[in-house]
Symmetry: C2
Subunit: 907 residues, 2 copies
Amino acid sequence: MDKKRVYNFGNGSAEGRAGMRELLGGKGANLSEMNLIGVPVPPGFTITTEVCAEYNELGKERVVSILKDEVEKSISKIELLMKSKFGDVENPLLISVRSGARISMPGMMDTILNLGLNDEVVAGLTRKTGNERFVWDSYRRFIQMYGDVVLKMKPVKKDDIDPFEAIIEKVKADKGIKLDNELETDDLKTLVKKFKIAVKEGTGRDFPTNCYDQLWGALCAVFDSWMNERAILYRKMEGIPDEWGTAVTVMAMVYGNMGNTSATGVCFSRDAATGEDLFNGEYLINAQGEDVVSGTRTPRQITKTGSLRWAKLAGVREESRMKNYPSLEEAMPEIYHQLYELQSKLEEHYKDMQDMEFTVQEGKLWFLQTRNGKRTGAAMVKIAMDLLHQGKIDEKTALMRCEPNKLDELLHPVFDKKALLRAKVLTRGLPASPGAGTGQIVFFADDATQWHTAGKQVIMVRIETSPEDLAGMSAAEGILTARGGMTSHAAVVARGMGKCCVSGVGALNIDYKKRTVEIDDEVFHEGDFLSLDGSTGQVYEGKIETKAAEVSGDLAELMKLTDKYTRMDVYTNADTPHDAQVARSFGAKGIGLCRTEHMFFEGEKIKAMREMILAETLEGRYKALSKILPYQQIDFKGIFREMNGLPVTIRLLDPPLHEFVPHDLKGQEDMAETMHVSLKYIQQRVESLCEHNPMLGHRGCRLGNTYPEITQMQTRAILGAALELKNEGIVVLPEIMVPLTGILYEFQEQKTVIDNEAKKLFDEVGSRIEYKVGTMIEIPRAALTADKIASAAEFFSFGTNDLTQMTFGYSRDDIASFLPVYLEKKILKVDPFRVLDQNGVGQLIRMATEKGRKVRPNLKCGICGEHGGEPSSVKFCDQVGLDYVSCSPFRVPIARLAAAQAAIENV
Amino acid sequence: MDKKRVYNFGNGSAEGRAGMRELLGGKGANLSEMNLIGVPVPPGFTITTEVCAEYNELGKERVVSILKDEVEKSISKIELLMKSKFGDVENPLLISVRSGARISMPGMMDTILNLGLNDEVVAGLTRKTGNERFVWDSYRRFIQMYGDVVLKMKPVKKDDIDPFEAIIEKVKADKGIKLDNELETDDLKTLVKKFKIAVKEGTGRDFPTNCYDQLWGALCAVFDSWMNERAILYRKMEGIPDEWGTAVTVMAMVYGNMGNTSATGVCFSRDAATGEDLFNGEYLINAQGEDVVSGTRTPRQITKTGSLRWAKLAGVREESRMKNYPSLEEAMPEIYHQLYELQSKLEEHYKDMQDMEFTVQEGKLWFLQTRNGKRTGAAMVKIAMDLLHQGKIDEKTALMRCEPNKLDELLHPVFDKKALLRAKVLTRGLPASPGAGTGQIVFFADDATQWHTAGKQVIMVRIETSPEDLAGMSAAEGILTARGGMTSHAAVVARGMGKCCVSGVGALNIDYKKRTVEIDDEVFHEGDFLSLDGSTGQVYEGKIETKAAEVSGDLAELMKLTDKYTRMDVYTNADTPHDAQVARSFGAKGIGLCRTEHMFFEGEKIKAMREMILAETLEGRYKALSKILPYQQIDFKGIFREMNGLPVTIRLLDPPLHEFVPHDLKGQEDMAETMHVSLKYIQQRVESLCEHNPMLGHRGCRLGNTYPEITQMQTRAILGAALELKNEGIVVLPEIMVPLTGILYEFQEQKTVIDNEAKKLFDEVGSRIEYKVGTMIEIPRAALTADKIASAAEFFSFGTNDLTQMTFGYSRDDIASFLPVYLEKKILKVDPFRVLDQNGVGQLIRMATEKGRKVRPNLKCGICGEHGGEPSSVKFCDQVGLDYVSCSPFRVPIARLAAAQAAIENV
């Protein structure tokens, strides 16, 4: 009962500090910290995240009664500093109520501004400020915000119209104006009147006039917003635990909308898109913060450099720019100077790129927030390397600053340069989030999701985006918006997601009903192709070929740094020379999984393979396999050549035989003809190969043990290829991998077949080569009896896809019928096929590694499931002490970074 | 190099003893022991089982050179005692060479008799014995046996004719005689001559004349026979390791075929079929041992009582009996007296029923072998209880003497008494192995196997059986033979297998070619039905209904004894009141697994279930489920009533929904009509429910978690039934079991649903009842995270069927494509679905039990897979500390005995 629930700050002192973000939220902790380092911040207090948990547990009434005294005392402190009084008619204090979780969840939760207003206060405040329009504008904003958020009048369905917006539109239409700031004071008074009627109609009660009623309503609404649907969705996507809760910060209001000496803005200490060390941001004169970020007005640039660049991109002439869009540097040089100094101070203090909100009230600058800025993958790498070069952070910090998954953006395809030359530029907007995207136009988030699920690439086209569009944006290849700047919702979210985004494209004329977008008289329909370059802001007609990115510059330097700190190697899963080459260029140190299935499928091989399956005698199977042998030898040579000097782990044939036979009538007829047997025979054979549960059937080394001749052929192809290349001076390090081992003897039998065939081949050729024979560990029993298996196997490779299937008893092909429900009910926190289940599957990996190494201390252990490229799984592998992780070529840099971070963390 | 390889015995002293069976084999150890306790045994020596391993490792030449000196010395010792000389022309010693493994493998390995004969020795021996016919008879037998076994002239394919047999048949046909003992001395000489020619033709070499060459050939042949095909098959069936090897015993020959004062026989200290404390056996005058067991001559009874009983059964008149089939008691009263005394002495010494071989040579009695006798399940129980009552063994020994699996015979169906009254008796034979069997006639082992695999019940009909028929006998419901006594191959093997057998039915006239059997002019064809009563020897026409056996008499007493020593309870898997009642009568202490699937299938329920599956809304599903509820409540009441006072573990719905919908067009049309929807809709729904790997799909608690309303309904049915019975004074102890749990939260969600529904029901009814909620542990992840799951679950039940599937990654439905190869190659020693895999699956069980009890010390743990009725698995469960095993009703007594033995062993 005695724990501290409320932390005060203001006027250069604070009860909290930056290190207390778990308790105060990021926003609250930084507001305290800013006070402590001399950055001007309106006074206020933060209610802790622990109270959010209490709120969810004990309920509204209990928590309000617990908080009452403390909150009232803190309000008094603000009153003292601001020399005004909450609810006072003559000299009223207005406050804001803001959410703030441990890590930033932009746009997810609610904020209420201008709290403390009622009809009497409005009258007093008007007398005090002499700015009637500002007061009424604040009042109408407050009622709308409060009505939407606290009184829950905001429609749940996004297509329904907000009742307050409807009133505004009606008033503007009646008056014949378009923009909110064209509304005059009387119009604002009309709005307030109509708003109050709407509240009465919508809730059955009058709008609350008591300022403490307002405050408690707002506090509870913020706590409530932690559990709103879109916040839950966001947390699920970002892997944030529900238990964390949000803090609530209450601050004195300062106003950017008190006339032309007031302004509000958002700024970054470096460029969030490119990472350039360039102070930048956007602001609006005589506006509140929401005007800047919502995209309803096109904001102005803070620096002159930025303004000039923006004007060039947007095609705005210098006269118009100077008149309508002057930079803050030009419009308020004194304020700009303060702002510049303070942002430097903040970056210097936090040693990272800062994302700051500020307000200028009648010539005085206030900071409302600072936080480490979200950034694109490219910016993340550049900023980390720049800070390192500038001596502000050390190498380990630089590595830890980069989020492995975000490297994905840098490795995403860019437009093929040649294709781009032929492409038609339709228009240009702001380069809001870099990268290239091409796809079919959709206008609604639901469509984006559905089309994406259906395998289509889509570009989401919106006037502006809102948090409701999140899922759709996540499914799209790129986002194109008509309104909004570099800090608009669309831009911020797209950068966070690593999606390309072009925003604020004035030339767009979107008709949601007709599902069309007009760009300079040209009409595009839903389903038409568009291409976006988020790095230049250009919008292209049609589909444009893309190509893979390269590892160079800062990224290359970062990658080099990973090698300095990493303990584990990163291998790749590659089945072809091309994959091997790409992966090697990304820094793969070997192939951890070369699947051989495709070597039985392509061209002539499939015929011979079918012959083998059909053969009823050993001789028949030998004959058929001898046809496949030379093809496979060529395949292996191609891969070995690319991996000269590096180990190549080759998995013997794994899938059930029925995957190789045709299941359609036409295919069966062809097969019958080719093989000179009856259709009926083929059909019977196909039927006999079908299984109830093929995942648990006749596959993996069960094939090699029932048809050892397949293993013989593959051994001969692998080692034969290696011996031929040896003559060319190429160093081949083959590691032959037996799949699906569950029993020691199963492996031993295969190893004997391999070793015998190798010996035979070496004798024939008169030359030999070193090779290893190891096994996949993907059957729970193999992990449980790993000590036995390690007595014969020279390496273990954890096949976490199958191991996850069998440990959970989930068929990956059938999981769709219950996985969504499991995620929704939080029975599962994440899809275990995406993120390694450390408790269950991980336990088997740890056990097998320990048991295996007890018997064979130098046992080489790695992982080759899809988890090998997922950062949290890679870190687990490091903890367990694996020698390598293997992942798809494009995830190699991600895995390298994760591995280096793991080594630093796991010291 | 200094280890002792050869152990001598003879004339009342011996280097070995009974406790050395691992080294000397059962036969060798007992021959030594018999010497030590004063039973007359021909002198000899035993070569150890270790030499068999050396033989397999080092090969023939090395082992012969290692053994040479020792063997020659031991032969000298025999020569000394027998006052004759091996290979000597004037006073020759003849010897036998016999195999003998650690445990008896009747008929599996080879024996050579009369070794040491050649043309000169024959001449000398004739002079010495004055019995030319005996000598030549021995000689021709020796050449045939040596030719077959050592020179490998016995045809591999059983339908091919033995070249020696062909010669004999020819000679007999030429002479117009039928029986071997009608051959005169000259005929025997002709045979020897022709045999030698056959050997020369067949092997390219002369028959060996040097007696040591003969000896080494025979010794090696015995070692070779350890690895012959049928010995390997037998060991696989009996679970005997290949590493054990066989010992070889070399003994001086004694002859039962030296005229009318000579005889040979087999006897038992108690009745091997019924267990009665009645000395019994069979003998033949002037014969060798093989004549008795091969069934070529119908043997005579040893005791007068036995002889009278046999005559009655076989319909032999007293005059004929006295003349042609006198008992040994009547024919050689002095010898009988000695035999009786010695068999008593042996049983007294070994404290178990003895199976003995003896030979009388010219009035002197020799024992050739004694061992614990094979017996039927009924005899096993009776003998154990009798020995206990007679004070010869204690309770624990009585329990340990009974082999749990053999109780199966006592629990096998017997003929329905009413059906038997209507049945027509065709003929009568010897009651060679008790129990009832009904099935279709087959004549060949291969057919028996194939028909059995095809799901048919077969009766195997043979003139006589041989070791080649083993697999067929194992597949048959019963065995019927025309020749052979109670100790014939057919009789001994059938008793071992617990199959019913009627042997020595003279009325049978079998035509293998036509595949018919004539019984008193009535012809039966392959495929016709016959029924056998192995307890009475009666053969019935047609198929006769069978019914379950009861637990009474000695068995009931044995079962009572198990309760005194057991630590684990035995529960049953029962889904119906009838099963519950049967299991309770067999002593089940509760239901460990009550599957509820059938409660959704039968009659009206399936319609409602299909409605539920089809319903697209929660309301629709509720409506459909409310129709099923009353039916399930009735089902549960029936089971609870039977189990009054005992716990009943009910598993919630487990199988995937697609099992409930029709997959055939007709069924789908019916369903469409009943449900008033289109056929297409039904087909789409059925299609959508199909899964790639249903075993790993949407089933178990994944159903309950996606459709909690099913769990609600089942909870209501279970507890509703319990509450209603409570009013009748019936004590219901329901334990609700959640299937297929893999994740704590998965279980928690279900437990919440169950508890909420229970509370709701209790409130409605105004009464309550205690219940438990626990889970199956059948997913590897559940075992790995058992500590977490035990925080919420009140009991664990190991579902070892599914746990085996997922731990091995085997689909039980698809295993047939590789399991036979795996067993053959010994990758798997046994089918893991039959015998629990202690290393892998067992490790998970042990881990889960330990982890679970660490969190919840009183956690109730049991096993409910099919392994719960398999003795070795039951013993493992005891070691792990499980509270109970649960098995099918008919295996309850087996599990109870195994559990008691486990408790005694695991002290």
